[in-house]
C-alpha cells in the first residue's frame, strides 16, 4: 500500500501542497472556482518550519490511531480495506478530542460545519493533490519498500563519493 512520504531535504515551504489540498477539497475543484466559493475549503496538510528544515504535515493514517480511540461519537474510524483513518462529518459532534490526542496536529476544523476534517488522501484520485502539486517532489506517494530502497541507494552513492574523496 502506498503512503504519503516526505523527502526532508526537498521541502522549500512554498505551500503549493496546502493550496492544492484546499482546491482538491473544494466544490469546484479549480483554484479560480475555489477562491470564489462562499464556504471556504480548508487545507488538510500544513507546512511547518522547524530548525533549518520545513515539513508538510498531514494525517499519517496511523495503524493504531489515537484519534479513533479518543472519538466518543464513532465519527473517526480506521478503514482496514484502504488503510485510511476516516472522519465522518455526520457523526462528528465537535468535541475535538481527536485534535488533542493527534501527535502531529494533523486534524483541522471545518469552520462552518464545526466538524473535524483531515487528510483523506484525495480518495478517488490516483495520486493525492499535494503529491502532484509539489514542485520539488518532496512529497512522494510510494510503497514503503520502494521509498526505503531509494533512500538506501542515495546513502550508498554518498558513501562511495566520500570514500573516493579521501
Amino acid at each position: 500500500m502506498k503512503e504519503i512520504l516526505i523527502d526532508l531535504k526537498k521541502c522549500l515551504s512554498c505551500k503549493s501542497c496546502e493550496i492544492a489540498c484546499t482546491v482538491s477539497h473544494s466544490n469546484s475543484g479549480s483554484i479560480f472556482g475555489a477562491v470564489l466559493e462562499e464556504k471556504k475549503s480548508r487545507p488538510r496538510i500544513h507546512v511547518e518550519a522547524g530548525e533549518g528544515a520545513s515539513f508538510p504535515l498531514q494525517c499519517r493514517q496511523c495503524e493504531d490511531p489515537k484519534c479513533v480511540q479518543a472519538c466518543i461519537s464513532g465519527a473517526m474510524s480506521k478503514d482496514t480495506s484502504t488503510g485510511l483513518v476516516v472522519s465522518n462529518p455526520d457523526k462528528c459532534i465537535g468535541c475535538w478530542m481527536c485534535v488533542m490526542v493527534c501527535p502531529f496536529g494533523a486534524i483541522a476544523q471545518d469552520r462552518e460545519d464545526k466538524s473535524a476534517v483531515k487528510c483523506d488522501r484525495c480518495a478517488g484520485l490516483e495520486e493525492p493533490a499535494c503529491v502532484r502539486a509539489c514542485p520539488t517532489r518532496a512529497i512522494k506517494f510510494a510503497e514503503i519498500d520502494e521509498f526505503c530502497k531509494s533512500t538506501r541507494k542515495e546513502y550508498l552513492s554518498n558513501f562511495q563519493f566520500s570514500e573516493e574523496g579521501k
Binding site: S16, I19, T22, F32, V35, K40, S41, P43
Partner: protein, 635 residues
C-alpha cells in the same frame, strides 16, 4: 499519441509527432511538467517586491492575510497588475523609440533606409500640427521624429503630444478628469516602478488608475507611435495576397524564418534575400524562401507579402521541420528553448539585438547605420547553412492557407471609398445601423500553452461570423485565423452570416476584387492594434458618439504576454468591452477583480474586462454586449 488537446493546427499536430520521434522537448512538454502551477501565483497574491518576503496571502482565509509590510491581497494584486502593464508598455515604447531613432537617422542621412510613404508622413505631421508645405520629406521627417523625441523628453506638465494628436477628444477629456493623462512615456514608467516599490502606494484604486495611465502610454507612446513611424519608413500596408502555415517552407530553397516584433532589420532581410537569390542558386538551392513568426512575421506580410510560418506556440516546431536554414530573431516572445531545438538540426539561430541574446545562438548585431551589411551577413549565413541540411531530417507539413492581409485603416477606407467616395465610412455605418453588420470585434493577442493552440480564436470567430459580427485581427490571433482559412473570400461564403456576407460581397465587388472581402481583416502586428484604435475612433467621430457607445468589442482569447495586459487595459480605457479567454492573475483580490470587470471600470472608462474561458459562451457574451449597445443607440 493524441495531439488534439495541444493544437487546433494540423501542421502543428504532424510536427509534434516528428518532434516526439526526434526527441525534441517542446513548450507543451514543459507546460505539462509545470502542472499544477502555483495557486498563489495564479491568483496574483504572491509579493516579491522586497526582501522581507516573498509573502503570500492565503486566499482561503485561514492563513496570513497580510504580507510582512502589511500589504493585503488587494494591494499585492493591484501592484502586480501595474507592474505587468509597465512590462508590456516598456516593450512597446522601446520598440517605438527604436523606430523613431531610425526615422531620425534616415531624415538626417545617417541610415540606409528611405522614407517610403510621404503621404503617411504628411498625415502624421498634420495631426501633430506640423506644417508640411514647402518642406522636403527628410526635413519633414526630421520634425516628426523630433516631435516624438520631445514626448520622451517632456519635462513639463502637458500630456503626451502623440496622445492628444491621435486620441478622440472625448477620451482625452475623460482621461483628463480621471487624472490619468500621461506626460512622458519614460517618466511614467519610472514613476510606476517607484509607485509599486516597497512602502510607496498602498491604495489599490490609485494603483489601478496608474495602470490605466500606463496603458495610455502603451497605446500612444508605444503602439501608435510605432505603427506611424514604421508606415512612414516602410509604407502603409495595402491588401496583399499570401499564404500561412508551415507548408510555406520549401524543400528545395534556402528557408529563412523571421521572428520577433521590430521590422527594422526584417525589412532589410527581405530586401537582401531578394537581391542575393543568385548566391542561393550557386549553393544548389532553387531560391530563398522567407517566412515569418509572431509579429515581425506580420509586419513583413503586411508590407512585403512574405508568408506566415506560424504563431508563437509553434516556433520550436518550425525548426523541427529540419528545413529551416536560419531563424533570425529580434525581440519579444522568443522562447529561450530555441537554441536547444536548433542544436538538434542544422538550423542557424541568429540573435540580433543587444538586449536579446541567447547562449547557443550566433549573434549578428543589428545597428541602424550598418543594417545593409547585417542583413547580407544573415542571408549569407542562411545560404551557408543550407548546404548542411540533412534531407533525412526534413518533414514539411503539406498544410497552408491562402491569406489576404494588409488591411490598414487607409486600405479599408480606400476599399469603402469605391462605394462612396465623399463619405467612405457611410456604407459601413449604414450597414451597421440597418443591422446587416451586427457589430465588430477585434480578435487579438497571443497563443498560450494553457489553451490548445488557435482553438479559442477559431471557436470564437466561427460564432461571431455566423452572427454577422465583422472581425478584425492582429498579432498571433491573426496568424491563427489566417492559418484556419478565415482571411479569404471563400471564408465569407463559408462562415459569414447572410447579411454580413451580402455587405462583404458588395464591398469586394466595388473594390474590384470580383469576390467578397474576407470576413476577418488582418490589420497587422500587435503594435498595429493602434490601427484598430484609429478605425473605431474614426467610426465614433463619423457617428458623433463616443467609442464606448459603439456596438463593438475586443477579445484576447489566448493571450500570454505582459504586452497583452497593457493592450487590454488600453482597450477598456478607450471604452471597449474586452474579453479575456485566460483568467488573469487578479482573482486573489475581490476588490481589484470587481473594479476591472464590472461597474467601476464601466462607469469611469466605458469599457471593462470580461473573463470567459469557453469560446462559445464568450461569443454569446460578446454578442449580447453588442446587442445591448445597439439597443442604446436605438438601432
Amino acid at each position: 499519441m493524441n495531439f488534439e488537446n495541444k493544437s487546433f493546427d494540423p501542421a502543428v499536430r504532424q510536427l509534434l509527432g516528428k518532434s516526439h520521434k526526434d526527441g525534441i522537448e517542446t513548450v507543451w512538454d514543459r507546460f505539462e511538467a509545470q502542472q499544477p502551477q502555483c495557486g498563489f501565483g495564479l491568483l496574483g497574491v504572491c509579493c516579491r517586491t522586497c526582501v522581507q518576503g516573498p509573502c503570500r496571502i492565503d486566499p482561503f482565509g485561514s492563513g496570513p492575510q497580510k504580507g510582512v509590510c502589511g500589504a493585503n491581497a488587494d494591494l499585492i494584486v493591484a501592484r502586480n497588475l501595474l507592474r505587468s502593464v509597465v512590462g508590456g508598455t516598456a516593450a512597446h515604447t522601446d520598440h517605438a523609440y527604436e523606430a523613431v531613432e531610425a526615422l531620425y537617422m534616415t531624415a538626417t542621412g545617417k541610415s540606409p533606409y528611405e522614407i517610403k510613404d510621404e503621404a503617411k508622413l504628411k498625415a502624421v505631421a498634420a495631426k501633430l500640427g506640423i506644417a508640411s508645405e514647402g518642406k522636403g520629406k527628410n526635413e519633414l521627417a526630421k520634425e516628426v521624429a523630433e516631435a516624438a523625441f520631445a514626448d520622451y523628453a517632456n519635462h513639463g506638465s502637458t500630456p503626451m503630444k502623440w496622445l492628444t494628436a491621435t486620441a478622440p477628444p472625448e477620451r482625452v477629456e475623460t482621461w483628463g478628469k480621471l487624472g490619468v493623462l500621461p506626460k512622458n512615456p519614460d517618466r511614467e514608467i519610472r514613476t510606476a516602478m517607484h509607485q509599486t516599490s516597497m512602502g510607496v502606494d498602498s491604495d489599490p484604486v490609485n494603483l489601478i488608475l496608474s495602470a490605466v495611465k500606463m496603458s495610455l502610454v502603451d497605446g500612444y507612446g508605444g503602439m501608435h507611435l510605432a505603427t506611424d513611424v514604421q508606415d512612414i519608413l516602410f509604407g502603409t500596408p495595402k491588401p496583399v495576397v499570401s499564404e500561412a502555415n508551415l507548408g510555406v517552407l520549401k524543400a528545395d530553397q534556402v528557408n529563412i524564418v523571421i521572428h520577433g516584433h521590430v521590422p527594422l532589420l526584417s525589412e532589410k532581410i527581405v530586401e537582401w534575400a531578394r537581391k542575393l537569390v543568385d548566391e542561393a542558386k550557386a549553393a544548389g538551392a532553387q531560391g530563398i524562401q522567407l517566412s515569418g513568426l509572431c509579429c515581425s512575421g506580420n509586419e513583413v506580410l503586411m508590407r512585403q507579402g512574405v508568408p506566415l510560418a506560424n504563431n508563437f506556440l509553434a516556433q520550436e516546431l518550425a525548426i523541427s521541420t529540419g528545413a529551416v536554414d536560419a531563424m533570425v530573431v529580434d525581440v519579444q516572445c522568443i522562447m529561450p528553448s530555441l537554441a536547444d531545438t536548433a542544436a538538434c538540426y542544422h538550423t542557424k539561430l541568429i540573435t540580433t539585438m543587444p538586449i536579446a541574446k541567447m547562449p547557443g545562438a550566433q549573434h549578428i548585431p543589428f545597428e541602424i547605420d550598418r543594417v545593409d551589411e547585417t542583413a547580407q551577413e544573415i542571408v549569407r549565413t542562411a545560404i551557408g547553412a543550407y548546404k548542411n541540411r540533412d534531407p533525412q531530417k526534413v518533414q514539411i507539413p503539406d498544410v497552408k492557407s491562402k491569406v489576404i492581409a494588409g488591411f490598414s485603416v487607409e486600405a479599408i477606407v480606400g476599399a469603402l471609398s469605391k462605394l462612396d467616395a465623399a463619405n467612405p465610412l457611410k456604407p459601413l455605418v449604414d450597414n451597421i445601423a440597418n443591422g446587416n453588420i451586427l457589430g465588430a470585434c477585434a480578435v487579438v493577442g497571443c497563443n498560450n500553452a494553457k489553451v490548445p493552440q488557435d482553438s479559442f480564436h477559431v471557436g470564437l470567430v466561427n460564432e461571431l461570423l455566423k452572427n454577422n459580427v465583422l472581425v478584425v485581427a492582429t498579432g498571433c490571433a491573426a496568424h491563427a485565423l489566417g492559418k484556419a482559412g478565415f482571411m479569404t473570400p471563400e471564408a465569407t461564403e463559408k462562415h459569414a452570416g447572410d447579411t454580413l456576407k451580402a455587405v462583404l460581397t458588395a464591398v469586394g465587388n466595388a473594390a474590384g476584387l470580383n469576390a467578397p472581402l474576407p470576413p476577418v481583416l488582418h490589420m497587422g502586428s500587435c503594435v498595429d492594434n493602434s490601427r484598430i484604435g484609429d478605425l473605431v475612433t474614426a467610426l465614433a467621430a463619423y457617428l458623433k458618439v463616443a467609442i464606448k457607445d459603439l456596438p463593438i468589442a475586443a477579445s484576447a482569447p489566448e493571450y500570454q504576454h505582459e504586452k497583452a495586459i497593457a493592450i487590454g487595459t488600453w482597450a477598456i480605457s478607450l471604452g471597449v468591452l474586452t474579453h479575456l479567454g485566460v483568467v488573469p492573475p487578479v482573482l486573489g483580490s475581490r476588490q481589484v477583480s470587481t473594479i476591472l470587470t464590472s461597474e467601476p471600470a464601466e462607469t469611469l472608462l466605458g469599457g471593462k474586462f470580461y473573463v470567459e474561458t469557453d469560446p462559445v459562451k464568450a461569443a454569446a457574451g460578446i454578442i449580447e454586449h453588442i446587442r445591448g449597445k445597439r439597443a442604446k443607440l436605438g438601432i
